[in-house]
């Protein structure tokens, strides 16, 4: 009987082994739960760089990650990029001293500066210029030729306090004696310039006002975009969006940052980082360069 029993047991063991699925697995008890620890206070406080949502969060990471890494490396501490959905939230971060440095929009700067929350650190220089424009774009097959042709169009604003994306088109409407609600059939916010361009290219919006620098960069990256959208109106030159620091940033850090930015183009790593940002170099900026912006902000009351 012994041999038969052994054979049967072996057969059953084999069947059981085959019936089991896959290889043995690690045991993890999901019911063993613990409260998560509060984020420990970092031993070294990282350099926090805010980037306003000129581009989508992903686009900003692509463009600014190298610069952040460079600055962190030079300052001997980790650097991290901080993003928020709106310009206003970034302004709040600066006002509360939660970030050490920020790339902001012009009208956001004007507002923050005039509330004594931030100071100019440096401005980008592109092809020797420190200006940019608001470009009114429509789809390539649109019949609209001027801004006033956009009556009853669906219009995409970028950020509620974006200068090129909201303040300037509102100013134009004000001059026409119109309001966005009356002139356009519908408006919406995209919260970034690249998404506004895509909205027009994809036909979700009939027109949008965008940062000329972002548009140039987008077309440089995707030349096919030039065939899908066209500029029907360009604003006068405005001071370029600046790099700012909170007013209460320690002077030493401020000076270190200023020095690093202004000399970036001389650093071996500099050209690649600057090319990623689409600018030539950082130079000193003057607050007076933003008086034109300031006037429009005053005139429209947006961002005050």
């Amino acid at each position: 009987m012994g041999r038969l029993t052994v054979a049967v047991v072996l057969l059953m063991a084999l069947l059981a082994a085959c019936a089991g699925v896959g290889s043995p697995t690690q045991f993890v008890d999901l019911s063993l739960r613990q409260p998560l620890p509060d984020a420990a206070e970092a031993e070294v406080r990282p350099l926090r760089i805010a980037v306003a949502a000129v581009l989508s969060p992903e686009g900003n990471i692509e463009n600014y990650a190298d610069l952040a890494a460079y600055l962190g490396d030079r300052l001997g501490r980790p650097a991290e990029l901080v993003q928020r959905r709106t310009y206003a939230e970034v302004n709040d971060l600066i006002a509360n001293g939660e970030v050490d440095m920020a790339f902001v929009c012009t009208s956001a700067y004007v507002a923050g500066h005039d509330r004594s929350e931030m100071e100019l650190l440096a401005v980008p220089e592109i092809s020797g210029e420190t200006v940019y424009f608001s470009s009114i774009i429509v789809a390539d097959d649109s019949e609209a030729a001027t801004f006033s042709d956009l009556r009853d169009a669906v219009f995409a604003f970028t950020d509620p306090i974006s200068h090129t994306g909201r303040v300037y088109p509102s100013f134009l409407l004000q001059e026409l004696g119109e309001t966005p609600e009356g002139f356009f059939s519908a408006t919406f916010f995209t919260y970034s310039h690249d998404r506004a361009i895509e909205a027009v290219a994809d036909g979700i919006a009939d027109a949008a006002a965008v940062d000329s620098l972002v548009l140039d960069n987008a077309i440089a990256r995707d030349p096919a975009l030039a065939d899908r959208v066209k500029v029907i109106h360009q604003s006068p030159a405005f001071g370029i969006p600046p790099v700012v620091v909170p007013v209460d940033l320690p002077v030493e850090l401020r000076l270190e940052l200023e020095e690093l930015l202004l000399s970036l183009h001389d650093d071996p790593a500099g050209p690649a980082i600057l090319a990623q940002l689409g600018i030539g170099r950082f130079i000193h900026g003057e607050d007076s360069a933003y008086d034109g912006v300031r006037e429009m902000v005053e005139a429209t009351g947006i961002g005050r």
Binding site: R3, L15, C18, A19, V21, G22, S23, T25, Q26, F27, V28, D29, L30, S31, L32, R33, Q34, P35, L36, A39, A53, S56, P57, E58, N60, I61, A65, V82, Q83, R84, R85
Partner: protein, 484 residues
Amino acid sequence: MRHPGEPALGPRDAPERFGDWVDRIKRTATGFSVRTKILGIVLALTTVLGLAVTWQVRSVMTNVLISELDNRGRSVASDLAARTVDPILLNDTYRVFETLDDTVANHPDAIYAFVLDPTGSVVAHTFGEEGFPTELLGLNPGEGTTEIKHNHLTGEIGRFHDFQAPVLDGRAGVVRLGLSEARLTDVVSGITAQMLVTTLFVGLAGVAAASLLTWLLTRPILDLVDTTRRVGEGDLGARAAHWADDEIGDLAAAFNQMVTDLEANRETIRETETARTRLLEQLITAQEEERKRIARELHDTVGQALSSIMVGVEILTRGGDDDLLRKKDEIQSLSRETLEQVRELSRELRPSVLDDLGLAAALDRYAQDFEVRYPEISVDLHVNLSGRLQSTVETALYRVVQEGMTNAMRHSGAHTLSVLVTQSDGSVQTIIEDDGSGFDPLEARRNGKSVGLHGMAERAEMLGGTIDIESGKEGTTLYVRVPV
């Protein structure tokens, strides 16, 4: 029980033990009835087949469903990673949580989802307020992974799959998604149970069908067994019923034929036995008759003659010369006659010519005597033999011809008798033909009036020969073949 001195089981013992096993299995297997064997085979086949198919389907289904679960997990995790990029980068923790929570709520297999930032801290999770199973954090693949990773894990809830999808190539963190196998296991278990139930039903149906089959198969066999027993007990009228036109039906038919033949043989034996008894009685009677005839013959002829001779001799002693001479002639004549009568008697009893000159001469003499004695019948005799035969054969054939011719003379009223004796190919063939009225040989044998016929047959059979009778209105022909 092995004694201490006994050698351990050697390799030579193994085949013997194996042989014992084979014998035991054979005895066990052959010990069951056909019904049990067929039922056992059907039951074993359905069970083995059912279990094998169930197992196969179960493992194939499990593999397919797990692979499908993996694919789904990868696509859901990858979708989650894409949808959480913006809220993670914008520090919108609530939207991250909402996205995770919606996914887990809308996906039946999902048991958890959470997001880790690049440093490995939990950004948002769906485990609720009781806390977080920190064991899961140990499985973090680390930063910079651009591919979706996938772990098979087991927990208190059973097996589950953990997917790790990097957000923005890991720069924004990692989305983790847990999918449970519970639903999959339920589906597989349900199907397994269904298949086992089906197997059970098929097995029962198989047993029912096999029962019917074995009943159909064994019923005629058992009937045949019963009939055999009855025949064995002497009931030759018993016949096996014919159930079907199959091999068993053929067997029953052959069996019935055998019993029929047996019955006929027994009838023949009984008839032969009866005839033999009658023959014995008649032989005794005939012997007595023959003795009476010889006694009467001796008394009437030889006795009378001898008395006359004695009287003549008495007269001789008393009488004169003339008388003497006359008496001497009388006595001489009487003695001659008496001698002739004694010879005649002797020849009839046993013709010495058969012993001296053989069958051909004896038959020739007999035919001549027959024609002399019965002038109304003409005998045509042809004997063609290569030489003398064995004495027993010659006697038997002589008696057969004698009996056949006597029968024809007595019963058929024939006018012509033809007798042909030829030798060829190791046998002697004798044909006795008459042009008489004929008779029914079977009827004659049955009613016991054919002692002569029976005697002829007995004589032929004793020598290993055969006898055939053809009889009709044109006469009777008797064929006797005896091997030599």
